[in-house]
Amino acid sequence: MRRDRQLELIRRLLKHQEEGSTAYAPEPWRNELSAYTDPVRAEREREIFFRQRPLPFGLSGRLAEPGDYVTDNIDGNPLLITRDSDGVVHAFLNVCRHRGAPVAEGCGKAKMFACPYHAWTYNLDGSLKGIPDARSFDGVDKSELGLAEIPALEKDGMIWIGPLDRTTPMPEDPMGPLSEEFAEWNFGSYHFFGSYQMVKPMNWKLVIDTFLEGYHIGVLHKNTIAPYVQTNRATFDAFGDHHCMVAARNTLDSLNDMPEDERDLIPHAAIVYSLFPTMIGVVQGAANIELWRVWPDKRGPGWSVIELSAYVPEKPTSEKARNFWQKNMQLAIDTVEAEDFELGRIIQQNAENGAPEHVVYGRNEPAMSHYHSRIRAHLGLDANV
């Protein structure tokens, strides 16, 4: 993050601290609770947000070297994401051209992929390499029998895949106005530490909501992160559909007596990026970043699949370093899964019971109203409920 932007954020946070304030939206904002339950709306969201838009997948370090691959299943699409021998990232449907079996499983490093059914082989760039008993397939054009490819883009250290409808083109810069700031982090050099996937009984937007305000920290998280992060004390900046929220840690105070040229924001803040509308990135005090990725589960609007992946600035070389990052990741899981998602499950239940009809986001929750008004705009709904 650029130095002048850091200093400016520190000044804003110190001012909020002094005034006992936080970033404010112009006014409170109402949302329909049915946004989380209505199956018709859920289907439209799947089309618009998960099929017609590219999806952020992970940092470049998820596929660090040529031959690295990851399989995934997003909203019913079995995917294979690879880095080919020229270092280019590709995304494919993980479906053999012969009889439709998946050609790869899990993640790892490979020179090629052999389908487990009849051992048809594919290169890292998806092209068909070999057919056992090729005589029996005389006359087929092998060059037309590669894996079905999905657009993939690697930019500013982030890998994007899709749109999954395979019709809408990949935009040149899905990061939009956030691109410059995101690029400054140099996330492309980060090391992939680990990931954790879960399926939860809550709408996919409730998962994102978890990360959109610091109003709840002192209450819901009083025994976990409240001792470290200030409640109801954050800046907010929109970058097109995306946004950035910076929450002050309890140590922010120490910057007050420090000359500006010695001030460093990162140890004293939690910096939360929203890559609209399916990913949250949380930059923590050691400049490590946690990515939360979400998509709807096939069980319906009340279920989602969530993946946390953790990236660290440098590859840990000692047991001590690994333990440090492991503890860090575990704290994130424990806090979010046990506290936020447990409450999310109950909120989803309440929403499904249909009462109340509306919820309200305060002026102190500007990211909530920004996120949900952008969601409504993309769905073609009136900005105000």
């Binding site: 079995p78 053999c96 012969h98 005589r135 397939f137 006359g139 894996l147």
Partner: protein, 372 residues
């Protein structure tokens, strides 16, 4: 047949189709297609549901759930096989469950009872139904037929079943086996998240044996080597076991086909019968209502002798367990992954090689029956 198999072994060949096959992926994803399949294939077509041994003696019965219809199959007092909708004439509850031996069927709801011939026998508090014609309120019967030890039913009703005509040439094989003497060993139900056709298809080529089954049955068989013959819409694949090579040192008079092969019959449209060296498996695949990506597979195992001693039980259990574990543990999980690939519409069509003639024949038969 053994000479044909040796011919392929010597030449390194298999039975070939005369052209490549192409099957549109919509066969596994189109609701309209499933609707036509359910109507034409699971109501109007005679379906094989088991060997005679499933209802060996008078009073034996079993219930077969066929695409949302519960069908009760019995052997009546005259020794004839009968098939009925398993639905009480009073309030439509099922009158029988599972399988067993009974003298009559008692509805669990109000205890109306029916004979093995489906006739309504007694009504508790009969006075309250005075004026109702009992003889018109038996179980609703559907056509059934028993021949060569095979039981067929036509779930949607209609014409009587002519087994030999339906078998279209396969009756010569069927008559020779003596299936009427086989014993029912056990049956099980498997529910899977895949289109019903993926079950019969998994048995339709030996091209995958050395890859998918390399740690189970693969080493027992020659891979990608089989003799294919078709009989109307049905088909037969003969796969040689590796030990068939030992026959070459013996006089032809001692050659026996069955111990040295697996013979796989596809009874159009949904049943696979695997004739193994020691037992026979019958895999019956049914759609699950209007869910295109779900099916229910009923598996029955038959043995040439009644399994009564512990030693016999151990012998059969080992073979049967390997067979079922291979299909349910290796083929079906892959088939479910295939279904999710189809649902994602990864490709427009599947390709069947010249070495997969049974698949091409099967889909041509399906298209013929569905007028596609």
């Amino acid at each position: 047949m053994i000479h044909r198999l040796f011919g392929h072994i010597d030449a390194g060949t298999t039975s070939y189709a005369d052209r490549l096959g192409a099957n549109p992926v919509t066969s596994y994803t189109s609701a309209d297609r499933l609707g036509r399949e359910r109507h034409t294939l699971f109501r109007d077509t005679p379906l094989l549901v088991g060997f005679s041994g499933r209802v060996a003696k008078t009073g034996d019965y079993f219930v077969e759930e066929i695409d949302g219809r519960s069908i009760l199959i019995t052997r009546d007092r005259e020794g004839a096989v009968r098939a009925f909708h398993n639905v009480c004439s009073h309030r439509a509850a099922p009158v029988a469950q599972g399988s067993g031996n009974a003298r009559r069927f008692v509805c669990p709801y109000h205890a109306w009872t029916y004979g093995l011939d489906g006739a309504l026998q007694t009504i508790p508090d009969g006075r309250s139904f005075d004026g109702m014609c009992k003889s018109a309120h038996g179980l609703s019967e559907i056509p059934s037929a028993e021949k060569h030890g095979l039981i067929f039913i036509r779930p949607g009703g209609g014409d009587p079943i002519d087994v030999d005509q339906h078998l279209a040439g396969l009756e010569r094989d069927m008559a020779a086996y003596g299936f009427d003497r086989f014993h029912h060993y056990r049956s099980l139900t498997i529910e899977r998240q895949m289109n019903w056709k993926l079950c019969p298809e998994t048995f339709m080529e030996g091209y995958h044996l050395q890859y998918l089954h390399r740690d189970s049955v693969g080493p027992i068989f020659f891979s990608n080597l089989m003799v294919f013959d078709s009989f109307g819409p049905h088909s037969r694949l003969t796969l040689p076991r590796r030990r068939i090579m030992e026959l070459r040192d013996r006089p032809e008079d001692d050659w026996r086909l069955i111990p040295e092969t697996a013979i796989i019959y596809t009874f159009f449209p949904n049943v696979t019968m695997v004739v193994q060296a020691g037992h026979i498996e019958m895999w019956r695949s049914y759609p699950s209502g209007d869910a295109i990506d779900r099916c229910k597979v009923e598996v029955s195992v038959f043995t040439p002798e009644a399994v009564e001693t512990e030693k016999a039980r151990k012998y059969y259990e080992k073979n049967i367990d390997l067979a079922i574990r291979t299909v349910d543990g290796e083929d079906f999980p892959l088939s479910e992954a295939i279904q999710s690939g189809h649902s994602a519409r990864a490709h427009e069509t599947l390709i069947y090689g010249l070495n997969e003639p049974a698949l091409t024949h099967y889909h041509a038969s399906l298209n013929g029956a569905l007028g596609a």
